[in-house]
């Protein structure tokens, strides 16, 4: 019997199967799609409208003129969609582990790095669908980056989505039960989102607290936001690109390590991996 790993078609079939399953689950859970969309839209329609009058924004790259607060906050909300999607993937991994569906994946003849990578990419595809739906509504609301920005942002979305998804994968390996996920919300998602440049420029943060400014600067989510912001305006923020790539490699490597029965931590724990 030739193992499916012996030919390229087998790998492609496995990837497409995992992507199809993620998409089917997403389609079956319409509430998840709505929630993913409503969250940033509430921020855009209500929060941004309220803060427009309060927050003054100077001209900072990539913007060449003064911009409305809604325009500034849009890339941050795009990254927010990807952050929540990454955590949703993490949640679904924990759910799969609790219900037993994870074992079907892990006993596949394909290596775990490939299985986890496929799941990650599938999650990013879903997040990009959500992002473009959001950007379409934002366009209707008057937030109109350059037309080519919608194309240029795709590689940035892929990288930032992969980084945030990999972070979610890593977290899922450490979370034993769904109930513990509230801790992730409190200790990961909210601090990452608020201590970033998603809602306010970092120079504003420096004015109020140099320490907080440094925290924001070292927050990988800040770099995901800036990568998206610059790409949307047809520019590359090289530092952010490097940080996102580095964090992607780090988080994914850690996730693969944790899920690998030969090396990972949870194989040593009573109760086992799946």
């Amino acid at each position: 019997m030739t193992p499916p790993t012996a030919h390229a078609r087998g790998w492609l079939t496995a990837f497409l199967g995992i992507a199809r399953r993620e998409t089917l689950r997403f389609v079956n859970q319409r509430g998840r799609f709505l929630a993913a969309l409503v969250r940033p839209l509430v921020w855009l329609f209500i929060f941004a409208a309220g803060f427009r009058a309060v927050l003054g924004l100077s001209i900072t790259p990539p913007y060449q003129t003064y911009v409305l607060y809604e325009v500034y906050v849009t890339p941050g909300l795009v990254a927010m969609i990807q952050l929540f999607n990454g955590m949703q993937s993490s949640l679904s991994m924990v759910y799969d582990r609790e219900t037993g569906a994870m074992r079907t994946l892990l006993v596949s003849p394909f290596p775990r790095w490939f299985l986890l990578g496929s799941k990650l990419i599938a999650g990013v595809i879903v997040s990009i669908i959500q992002v473009f739906t959001f950007l379409a509504i934002a366009y209707w609301w008057g937030i109109r980056p350059p037309v080519w920005g919608y194309v240029a942002v795709i590689p940035a979305l892929i990288l930032s989505g992969l980084m945030l998804g990999a972070m979610g994968l890593f977290l899922s390996s450490a979370i034993r039960q769904l109930e513990n996920f509230a801790g992730v919300m409190n200790f990961v998602i909210f601090p990452m989102f608020f201590a970033s440049s998603a809602l306010y420029p970092l120079w504003r943060m420096r004015e109020s607290s140099p320490l907080l400014y440094d925290i924001c600067r070292f927050n990988p989510f800040t770099h995901a936001v800036e990568l998206i912001r610059f790409a949307l305006y047809l520019r590359v923020e090289w530092t952010s690109l490097a940080v996102v790539l580095g964090c992607l490699a780090g988080f994914f490597g850690a996730a693969v390590f944790m899920y690998d029965p030969q090396k990972g931590l949870w194989a040593r724990r009573k109760g086992g991996p799946a």
Binding site: A14, T99, A101, T104, L106, P261, A267
Partner: protein, 241 residues
């Protein structure tokens, strides 16, 4: 000479200070049905987790169809079909969607998987439930769907971990009869973990596992002797099955 479907040599496993398996060795012949009998906590699920590579096997060797699980994991895992003790199908999907997904995890594309799905669902008598959600199935149907999932990539060896747990008597008998049919007709081998004596036929190859160690391995008829299997098990383990 054909390699055994499964060969386990001197496998031990610990969870911290707790030794779950002690120097376990056993063989499942090609086309054979081996029953792994033990009370809850005997180490059956740990052994299955090692065979399926959910746990890391650090001592001893496990070979599936002659392929060392550590050295050739892909070749070994491709030969295994696993029915877990608890549900392993995605509750959000239908049986057919689950089977297509599982087939893809073994590199089988949809165009090849679809006719196979029709065949295996007919084998497990679920052809009319193919498009039902997993959550809509009864306990017996759910177990049969799990067997169909385990068969879709045409494995040489079926691992069934307490496959009848939680089923009523009739469903239990159906699942066991189905497994035996598959062995007789298709030449599949099976390692059937159970704690229920009634599921063991006198002609079966039997392994008694207790507190992580193999106490006896041989034909059930020989192990049972004149006193019967229940009495023999009690004498060996000091525990009523």
């Amino acid at each position: 000479m054909t390699a055994p479907a499964l060969q386990i040599d001197n496998v031990s496993h610990s969870f911290g200070a707790v030794q779950a398996l002690k120097d376990v060795s056993l063989t499942v012949p090609q086309g054979g049905f081996t029953a792994l009998l033990g009370v809850n906590g005997a180490g059956k699920t740990t052994l299955f987790s090692l065979i399926t590579r959910l746990y890391n096997n650090r001592s001893g060797t496990i070979r599936v169809g002659g392929h060392d699980l550590r050295r050739e994991p892909s070749r070994a895992l491709a030969r295994l079909g696993v029915v877990f003790q608890s549900r392993a199908m995605d509750a959000d999907l239908t049986i057919r969607q689950n089977l297509i997904y599982h087939a893809s995890l073994h590199g089988i594309p949809g165009r090849l998987a679809r006719p196979r799905i029709d065949t295996v669902l007919a084998q497990v008598d679920l052809a009319d439930r193919a498009d039902a959600r997993v959550t809509a199935l009864s306990g017996g149907q759910s177990r049969r769907a799990e067997i169909a999932r385990a068969l879709i990539h045409r494995p040489d060896l079926l691992l069934l971990d307490e496959a009848t747990v939680g089923l009523d008597v009739k469903s239990r008998a159906e699942v066991l009869a189905l497994t035996r049919r598959l062995i007789a007709r298709d030449g599949v081998s099976a390692l059937w973990a159970t704690h229920i004596m009634d599921e063991i036929d006198p002609a079966d190859d039997l392994v008694i596992l207790h507190r992580g160690a193999v106490l006896r391995h041989g034909p059930a008829r020989d192990i049972a002797g004149a006193q019967g299997l229940t009495r023999a098990f009690l004498d060996l383990t000091g525990v009523a099955p």
